[in-house]
């Protein structure tokens, strides 16, 4: 299927690793010009080198903190200068890690009873303000073109809080992002701009691998025991591949997906339980 993405200018945050990198790769493979942003220069350099093999001349990178609106503005300005007005924006920022020694870089560990309330503000800055700031910064370009695609890499907890895990921070903040996007979608529909949110399930990324290794060490189990017990809770009995996330995002960015907006779409192997 020709997704009609040739020449479209895209920004992918968190684009140097995992899901973000898979999205950047697939968008570039479909002919888009892609700016990837991430905090650390090293992984960015490595990612952009690999991406240039797929899409020579159509990929660039910039180091920035996408949880800071000033960082977002820098990235958007650099993208305009390199490729022109922005047509596609994929927000892909992880929650803040309070203490990586305790959490193994897992998502915002802690339950409600033990969570100091200021942490809700830090998580809001990471997950909500990042998604809002990127959208806010690129909307004028999209309105001028009468065409735009905005996607957020959210989480299944937006619709169904993970109460069996100590994930109170994403549990509380992710639904707010989904709601903000839903409202933006309604207000931007007349401008040819779609706004969608992905409800990510368990996807096997580098970060996820390091989390399993950490959890195995914590519980005195083997890596295989930890993942097998987890996989048994997923109807398809495996974690997702980042490419399976990237494929949905790429489709949502296509011309064909122009009537799909304001949605929160799960990619989670059938794990959720709501109707």
């Amino acid at each position: 299927m020709d997704l009609e993405l040739q020449g479209k200018v895209a920004i992918v945050s968190g684009g140097s690793k995992g899901i973000g990198r898979a999205i950047a790769t697939m968008l570039a493979g479909e002919g888009a010009r892609v700016m990837i942003a991430a905090r650390s220069q090293g992984p960015l350099d490595e990612a952009v080198e690999a991406l240039r093999e797929v899409a020579p001349g159509r990929v660039a990178a910039i180091a920035a903190d996408m949880t800071d609106p000033a960082g977002v503005a820098d990235v958007v300005a650099a993208t305009r200068a390199t490729f022109g007005p922005v047509s596609i924006a994929v927000s892909n920022v992880i929650g803040h890690v309070i203490d990586s020694k305790k959490e193994g870089d897992g998502p915002g560990a802690g339950n409600f009873a033990s969570m100091p309330s200021p942490e809700y503000r830090r998580e809001f800055q990471h997950l909500f303000v990042s998604a809002w700031a990127l959208a806010h910064e690129v909307i004028p370009d999209m309105q001028a073109q009468g065409w735009g695609r905005i996607c957020n890499i959210g989480s299944g907890v937006a619709r169904e809080p993970a109460t069996e895990l100590p994930h109170v921070l994403p549990n509380v903040v992710r639904p707010a992002v989904a709601g903000m996007y839903r409202i933006m979608a309604a207000r931007l529909a007349g401008d040819g701009i779609t706004v969608n949110n992905i409800l990510t399930g368990s996807i096997l990324t580098e970060r996820n691998l390091s989390y399993w290794a950490w959890l195995a060490a914590q519980t005195g189990s083997t890596f295989e025991e930890v993942t097998a017990s987890f996989h048994n809770r997923i109807p398809v009995r495996r974690q997702g591949d980042p490419k399976e996330m990237a494929a949905l995002v790429t489709f949502l960015c296509s011309q064909q997906a122009r009537h799909i907006t304001g949605q929160s779409i799960p990619v989670e192997g059938g794990s959720s339980r709501h109707l």
């Binding site: 969570m115 809700y120 503000r121 639904p175 707010a176 709601g179």
Partner: protein
Amino acid sequence: MDLGLNGRTALVVGPDDDIAAACRSVLAAEGARIATSLDDGAIDIVVAHATQRHGSAVMAIESAAEWHAAWDEVVAALDVFGRALPGMRQRGWGRFVWVGTAGSRSLDAEAPGQLDEVGAVTSLAMRAAQKVIASEGGPEGVVANSVLRGGAATADDVASAVAYFCSQWCGYITGASVDVTGGVGSGMF
């Protein structure tokens, strides 16, 4: 119906508006003592609500600071809930109610142009928090629900639902959100 609120102590937090006044009034009429702060005795019930911002628009927000100002109410509510929870668990009984907007369920929960879009965003967060609190507090008799106002709901309509969710009869309804909208709003879930 005896709501079983005699001898219970309730704290109503958030802006001092008609919703707060109506909640205090109906809870007091049902026999609860109204506390003035978290330190005013053993708190059995906490009701929190947001500022009503009819017509607030997501697309009109121009800075992260504006979002943080809205988020203040979430942080403040969760702070009070978190401080009240240990005592409730110890005593084996507690009620948390969040009063938010039905705009968090339906874009048409209020008359055109009247939707509180910013409140819809913060209410989604609080509804999720209530679900988490319901899960954590359930084993010790602590329940947590949300009342979503919309349509032409009066403060008394809202306060009646709040009182029910604070009552002795509301022990098995938890993590739920109920619309008080007079039937306005198309969203099912």
